[in-house]
């Protein structure tokens, strides 16, 4: 079975990737904008926070810097799409590519070690908690605050305008919404969240590494889709909750796979497992509803 430490570790990583799932929700679901920038903005957040921390900045300011850097990256992708009319997917790939070199420039080297530096977690270790429980506590608070802020935003006039932009841009414009500006704002906020996730990840893992971004989009999508299979996103609140739940479930599934020596599963099977999970998550809701309608038809 799963040890307590492995469980807490999965939840800790799940909370961080829950922020990424929020970001994917905004870009893929709300704005219908497939955004691959995240593979670059995750390590960007880690890089900016890392450099600021080793140069003595307060870790919360460093994290704020990471958020702003992420927003800038997202804005670039969106501007390429809105102003220069480059296809959204392509624009995001361009930014992601550029970020690889930019991240190396920011860090000056491929890896910045943060062990023994003052991070956002440092003061929390003084609390009367086991070492492995501390990140879960802090990140739960961060995730919850982000959840509430996002929910209120999506319910606001601007948030509704953003949702309309993704749902029916022509109608949105007819209602006076500047859809271009909405896209730029949305993709920027989305990548700001990813920058935050990257900064928190680096601080909890002891290093900012330029290769940290590989596969972030896949994990984000798997978390989002998996969460939606568990919590049908009929309202904004449920959709956001599904992000966090899906991310944690995904990481727990990995932790179980790592432990399932009886099944003979090893870490190299994880990509296959991810593919199976996502397929199930996409197929099951449809299977479930058609099964329900089959049964109800029989009754009638």
């Amino acid at each position: 079975m799963l040890s307590e430490i492995a469980f807490y570790g999965a939840v800790e990583t799940g909370l961080i990737y829950g922020l990424v799932a929020f970001a994917i929700y905004i870009s893929f679901r709300v704005l219908d904008f497939p955004d691959l920038t995240v593979d670059g903005s995750f390590p960007l957040g880690a890089a900016v926070a890392g450099v600021m921390i080793i140069n003595g900045w307060n870790p919360w300011l460093a994290t704020a810097g990471a958020i702003m850097a992420g927003m800038a990256a997202g804005a670039v992708t969106a501007i390429l799409n809105v102003k220069l009319k480059i296809l959204n997917l392509l624009a995001s790939i361009l930014t992601m590519l550029a970020l690889y070199s930019i991240n190396l420039r920011i860090m000056g080297r491929p890896n910045i070690a943060l062990l023994n530096e003052e991070t956002v977690l440092s003061p929390w270790y003084d609390l009367d908690l086991a070492y492995h429980q501390v990140p879960v506590l802090l990140f739960s608070i961060v995730a919850f605050v982000s959840l509430i802020l996002l929910w209120r935003f999506m319910k606001s006039e601007t948030g509704l305008a953003m949702r309309a932009t993704g749902a029916n841009a022509r109608m949105a414009r007819a209602q006076g919404i500047a859809t271009g500006a909405m896209i730029i704002l949305g993709v920027a906020v989305s990548n700001g969240l990813v920058g935050l996730a990257g900064a928190l990840f680096a601080q909890s893992q002891g290093a900012a590494d330029v290769t940290m971004g590989v596969g972030v989009i896949v994990v984000g999508l798997a978390s989002l889709i998996g969460g939606e299979a568990v919590i049908t996103p009929t309202t904004v609140w449920r959709a956001l909750l599904a992000c966090i739940v899906g991310a944690i479930i995904y990481r727990l599934a990995i932790a179980f796979a790592l432990n399932a020596d009886a099944l003979g599963l090893k870490a190299q099977d994880l990509n296959l497992i991810t593919a199976v999970l996502v397929t199930l998550a996409i197929v099951l809701p449809d299977a479930r509803s058609s099964l329900v309608s089959k049964l109800t038809r029989k009754k009638a």
């Binding site: 799963l2 040890s3 307590e4 430490i5 492995a6 469980f7 807490y8 570790g9 999965a10 990583t13 990737y17 690889y100 190396l104 080297r109 491929p110 890896n111 070690a113 943060l114 062990l115 023994n116 530096e117 070492y131 492995h132 990840f201 909890s204 893992q205 002891g206 290093a207 590494d209 330029v210 290769t211 940290m212 590989v214 596969g215 994990v219 990481r251 990995i254 932790a255 790592l258 432990n259 090893k266 870490a267 190299q268 994880l270 990509n271």
Partner: protein, 324 residues
């Protein structure tokens, strides 16, 4: 009467000792590796073999847990936590990213890192001499000066040395930095070619043609995986290719004054055994590979159109026969 009592006593205590050995708890060694790759796999094998030779038999008195993170930081993090949760006697971390994530979470478990080029830069230890906490290990830092000495003995007129490296690999970046300074101090120049993945190594090697007199490859994981690409360019353009690890000489490099990663693994295994026997990591200085062997491949040299001096070949620990 007394003799019988003594014999009984001795017999009984022998039995007791024997049963103690039998009831000895199985030790747990957990090994985490960042990515699967010939050099790192050889380290893993070396650790296992060293443990076996020292009497730790898998299944009897030793359990080995092993996971590879597939190059993914988040998975490396989860592997670290899984291991810590199992409370092993020692965690072995192969390569810097795996070592860092274990170090961030394992405060009370002894950790031995392996194949980490710059442990101080990676903040794994306070200093090489006195690690100071629960982490120590073996560094694969290269003795650049000795390598350059070897290279210049083989190709005395070389003025421009080229290297292919992955700017995304921390160990490669620090080695190339050292290389550049060492060459500058000797009045020679370094020409760098970057390859961010194995598929780019060939193109990077090609970009060095006409600009360098010799190529020197560090222990960059990306480049070592694609060493044949560099070697083929060296053969076509008549540029001698030198390596930092001996296995690459067998694959076609001219020469290397180095160690092989299997020995690196064995040396790591020795540290693990010392810890299992009770040594304290805080007092165990970080080790480097001091025994260097000269491997030469005269057939490769011929293909790259250089003639190695006879004394050079005579000195070699091993002369690799042509492998083509």
């Amino acid at each position: 009467m007394a003799k019988r009592t003594l014999r009984t006593l001795i017999g009984a205590s022998l039995l007791a000792a024997a049963s103690l050995v039998h009831a000895q708890e199985s030790r747990i060694v957990a090994i985490t590796q960042i990515v699967e790759h010939p050099a790192l796999d050889a380290v893993y094998q070396g650790v296992k073999d060293e443990l076996a030779e020292e009497g730790y038999v898998e299944g009897k008195n030793l359990t080995i847990m092993y996971e590879s993170a597939q190059g993914n930081s988040a998975i490396a993090a989860q592997i670290a936590r899984k291991f810590i949760g199992e409370n092993p006697d020692v965690i072995v971390a192969i390569a810097t990213p795996s070592a860092q994530t274990v170090a961030a979470a394992a405060k009370n478990i002894p950790v031995v890192f392996s194949a980490v080029t710059d442990p101080v830069g990676a903040k794994l230890v306070n200093s090489l001499e006195v690690p100071g906490a629960n982490i120590t290990g073996v560094s694969d830092m290269l003795p650049i000066e000795r390598h350059l000495d070897m290279l210049l003995r083989a190709v005395p007129n070389a003025k421009r040395i080229g290297t292919v490296y992955n700017p995304g690999e921390a160990n490669a970046v620090s080695l190339v930095g050292l290389l550049e300074n060492a060459l500058k101090a000797r009045g020679l120049t370094l020409v760098k070619a970057a390859a961010t993945k194995t598929s780019e190594v060939l193109g990077a090697a090609r970009s060095l043609v006409g600009k360098v007199d010799a190529i020197y490859l560090t222990t960059d994981n990306t480049v070592i995986s694609a060493a044949e690409a560099v070697i083929s360019v060296g053969e076509r353009a008549d540029i001698p290719v030198f390596a930092a690890d001996t296995a690459t000489v067998e694959r076609g490099a001219v020469a290397a004054l180095g160690f092989d990663y299997y020995s690196h693994g064995r040396q790591t295994g020795k540290m693990v055994v010392r810890i299992l026997k009770g040594a304290n990591t805080a007092d165990m200085p970080v080790e480097t590979m001091d025994t260097l062997d000269l491997f030469v491949n005269p057939a490769a040299a011929e293909r790259m159109d250089i003639t190695l001096p006879d004394e050079f070949i005579k000195e070699a620990k091993e002369v690799v026969k042509s492998n083509k």
